[in-house]
Symmetry: C2
């Protein structure tokens, strides 16, 4: 380990590098700039240089990107962020940086090794001339002082907008799906002055959560879950119960003045290249309407459509059967025999709630699952960035998001693996008991644990809030194997095991988000856009080749003017900024040449 | 001016004083403690020593209070607040301090002059053993991890509480009035675990604002207006339009999980001394019910009941006439002749909105009014504590509230007068024009301006957001004098001036809050409690003798278990803490001997 340098020398090293880097960029010299990076370097750009979300790996990729973008981007003003001291940890110097481009203002993060750049994060946070109004000195007054004939009040203005948008005036953006992702993006677009409508088929904002099984609580702690602009109050519990988060989201749509159309289903959409706009048919409260937005965002859940399995005999089964997303909760199943097919988050939550309500429960494990105890995940996995302690130590949500964003996906597993080794050690007894009960447990293909599984495939894990013990101690019975068929009153596995059932829940997960595009637009467009989510890590359910970023999320796709938005609350919050700025730039006529539009390797 | 001492010596001086003060208190020696104060000293206590809101003036009053309270209060642990550097300004050393009592934890502020205490503020912020759950390390999980038979979900728990409280279980506190004051107090009581119901006669939370005239916006800026626990987001405008603040308050009641009964009118209340509880008759959605709370809080508006004047001929007048609180806004009065009786805030707002909508408007000024331009008030009057700049400089809302609270009312006018002299100078042209138009303008009896007028009488001023110019330039006509009578179609003044009118608005202010008690409980109780609001400053509409604190607000009254809560958003926010702690202490059985219960000098 390298000896740690004194603070002044560390800062000087960063300033020297920034100065040389800035000079090379100003001189329009991609080769000189690339020479300032290490051979194993990564440059992750969030729309500042590429108008894309893209990671360049290695100096050649850096040089190629700069050669294509430099003339347009005109970056300048590279400096260490005020009040942020660069730090040296084991020979890697880290610093927060600010910069500008022709179009906007950016911030980022740099890691230097021996005076050269190992990782660089660049992100745009606002467009020049289109700054958000809540910045210091720009906050709207809310009232126009003076005496003004025929003044329009706030309420009249809101009512007029609500009645005219989508009727007399077309929205620039249509967001389909009014969950936390859709409304968080809607809030940002409102602040940026982009006329936007959010449609959702459910009757009230928050119903996306209210309609789920009754024992559901968020598995991530509050510090991870803030929405843009409006933080949960300090009175909020650590893990939000589903109905409480639903009420919060409903209030959020009002507080942020969103044009939210409940009970509205989009039935078809087609893009008119010549006109540069979508034709979207919707049914609003049963009434058919046509919307013509310039941009269409699918925010219908990163999990995509429910993966409804098809087993022989399902039509003969006489009990209740439904996908986990349609499970009403345990109340009707007291004393009943319940078989839950699946062994990930939803399966465990549903098994636990059924058992708590006195049902006879069997879980069918079809493939191995990764389990981490919630408290352990909070302590070891999240506490440095998203915790009460982190907040007390001065970590803000924005900064935590940027720290997360600064780690290139290619090497993220290396950062994650040691944390999961700690977790395994801490809870060794728990894992021993689980495996003794016959549970097939894994730590991900490469041992990198839960978060990498989430990023790669969005499945294959359970954050244990108590139900795992029910399996370990046999209260919830465990069966392993594939389902062969159903009978009138049982689930039969391939090995012949017969599981008598009054209820079968298919906790069989979700398909890729582009399935929504297939239904709404066309199978052709869904295929052209390709699979959403995943990194191309060539691990289970995330086939290669390597993509470097999550497929199709928050960035341009192979279908012009079609965007996918979603992810967990942290991702929805952070990446909605970049998606909102991409949409705003297009609305405002700011040139947005996309560098390195992703190719499509998989259809779903 | 005394030369400023180096920081270490300043801190040493404060520590020495605190040490001597703490020793005298620990020794149970009121005389020794009082000897540490200057002859012109003030000790303002917010429930820490007195279980009252009380200012002791002079060492004898300090000694007397300590002699009565010390044995019970057992104060200790006097120290400078961590991270708060004492400062010396012109020979007055100021410091933030922490301390404890037997019952709870306190904080305060001290000003020393020549090593003795000139002003001391002591306040209790939490009760030992009854701390709010959102403190670090105590935040509720929101979910109980583990497998628990017959688990109750958050929603089930909330629904059960909502259906049982007031029916199967009686609330400890009943708050009448669900405006910002009532719900802010309700939120604090929820956090303290005090079963509370808030009733309001209007149909929806926020209707207190929605029902006002349509152009109304808050006259105080956002930094002054935060509710407890939940701050307005950065997207909020500086001056909240009435319907926007209404929506915020409606969301607040849900987010804070308040038991808010809309469409519920309290029709009578009586206190049963023997049972130690109130019998309150209410009509909820038209259904009669009886509530039996231990404590009753009137939060029906610090302004009290509308002061509806009675002029001869009002019954003959054929046009519309109503009190300003019932004014629907200008829409129906385009082209009509409108007479507004009064020249304070509501009168100006209503005149302005009527003029903006094309009405012919005359203001009747009956007595002099103090006017300050809103921007000037923000710049000079509020910017040090409640502004974007103050926040950027590290001023928190809590700290600003405490700074305000640290200035004894007796000398507050001295602090205020120079600010208003600056305002006069800045806007001299404006005042010249107003007076040239015949407007009778004043700066308060002693030149101390708007805030003192507010504290003393709650009336007599206008924060100008544009309408004053309409009077200055004659767009709104000005008549001066008293109303003599009305005819079929005119208002006639004492000097014979006849003002033709299709509409008369009586912007004639409000009576004392104890009028609510007269209606709800009895005239006898209202008289026993006496006038609310005002300081006894012996200035216009605030008769002496000197009270030292606002009459009857947020503290025990001459009627056991009856409390008055209200004030502007800043006061409601800050003093709701002390009112909530007084109520919690009584519920929890913590002894609360009241020192210096105020005497009643005026009935209304």
């Amino acid at each position: 380990m390298t000896a740690t340098l004194p603070p002044a020398e560390i800062a000087t090293g960063v300033m020297t590098w920034l100065s040389e880097f800035g000079d090379a960029l100003a001189a329009g010299d991609p080769a000189a700039a690339a020479a300032l990076f290490t051979e194993d370097c990564f440059w992750r750009d969030l729309i500042a240089f590429t108008w894309n979300i893209k990671t360049m790996e290695g100096p050649a990729a850096v040089e190629e990107m700069l050669a294509a973008t430099l003339a347009q981007v005109q970056p300048s003003g590279w400096r260490i962020t005020d009040g942020e001291e660069p730090a040296d940890a084991g020979g890697v110097v880290e610093a927060w940086i600010d910069f500008e481009t022709a179009a906007g203002r950016g911030r980022g993060h740099v890691r230097l090794r021996d005076g050269r750049c190992w990782t660089l994060l660049t992100s745009l946070y606002e467009l020049k001339g289109h700054e958000e109004p809540q910045a210091p000195g720009r906050r709207p007054k809310g009232v126009q002082h003076g005496a003004i004939r025929e003044r329009t009040t706030w309420l009249e203005g809101r009512q007029q907008e609500a009645s005219e948008l989508g009727v007399a005036e077309q929205p620039y953006v249509l967001i389909i799906g009014g969950g936390q992702a859709g409304i968080g993006l809607g809030a940002r677009l409102r602040q940026l002055g982009v006329p936007t409508i959010i449609v959702d088929k459910r009757g009230r904002p928050g119903d996306q959560w209210r309609s789920r099984y009754k024992s559901l609580c968020l598995h991530d702690p509050i510090w991870y879950d803030h929405m843009p602009y409006l933080k949960f109050p300090d009175t909020w519990p650590v893990f939000s119960p589903k109905d409480k988060i639903a009420d919060w989201l409903e209030s959020y749509t009002k507080i942020m003045e969103l044009n939210y159309w409940p009970s509205t289903e989009a039935t078809s959409a087609a893009y008119d290249e010549a006109a540069g706009e979508w034709t979207v048919h919707v049914e609003r409260d049963g009434q058919r309407m046509v919307l013509r937005p310039k941009q269409l965002v699918l925010a219908t859940g990163m999990s995509g459509k429910p993966n409804q399995p098809s087993f022989p005999g399902m039509d003969e089964f006489r009990g209740d059967q439904h996908h986990s997303s349609a499970h009403p909760g345990p109340d009707a199943y007291r004393g009943k025999r319940c078989v839950v097919v699946g062994s990930n988050n939803s399966a465990f939550d549903i098994c636990g709630a059924l058992w708590e309500n006195g049902a006879d429960v069997t879980m069918v494990q079809r493939s191995s699952t990764h389990i981490v105890k919630s408290d352990t995940l909070m302590d070891i996995g999240l506490s440095a960035l998203y915790s009460e302690e982190a907040v007390a130590a001065g970590m803000t949500t924005d900064k935590a998001d940027m720290v997360f964003a600064s780690i290139p996906y290619r090497i993220m597993a290396q950062f994650q693996t040691p944390l999961y080794e700690q977790m395994r050690e801490k809870d060794q007894d728990f894992y021993d008991r689980l495996e003794a009960a016959g549970f097939d447990h894994d730590w991900g293909d490469d041992g990198s644990g839960l978060f990498m599984k989430y990023l790669r495939r969005g499945s294959g894990y359970y954050i244990d809030v108590g139900s795992a013990d029910l399996v370990a101690n046999g209260d919830v019975k465990l069966a392993r194997g594939q389902v062969d068929h159903l009978t009138e009153d049982a689930v039969v596995l391939e090995d012949g095991t017969e599981l008598p059932a009054d209820l079968v829940v298919y906790a069989t997960g979700y398909n890729s988000m582009n399935g929504w595009a297939a239904d709404l637009i066309s199978p052709e467009v869904a295929d052209r856009v390709g699979k959403c989510w995943g990194l191309g890590s060539d691990t289970s359910k995330d086939p290669g080749p390597w993509e470097g970023e999550q497929r199709n999320m928050w960035k341009p796709t192979q279908q012009q003017a079609l965007w996918f938005h979603g992810g967990n609350l942290h991702q929805s919050r952070h990446y909605s900024l970049y998606l909102a700025l991409q949409l705003k730039a297009r609305q405002a006529g700011v040139p947005t040449p996309v560098y390195g539009l992703q190719e499509v390797h998989h259809r779903s």
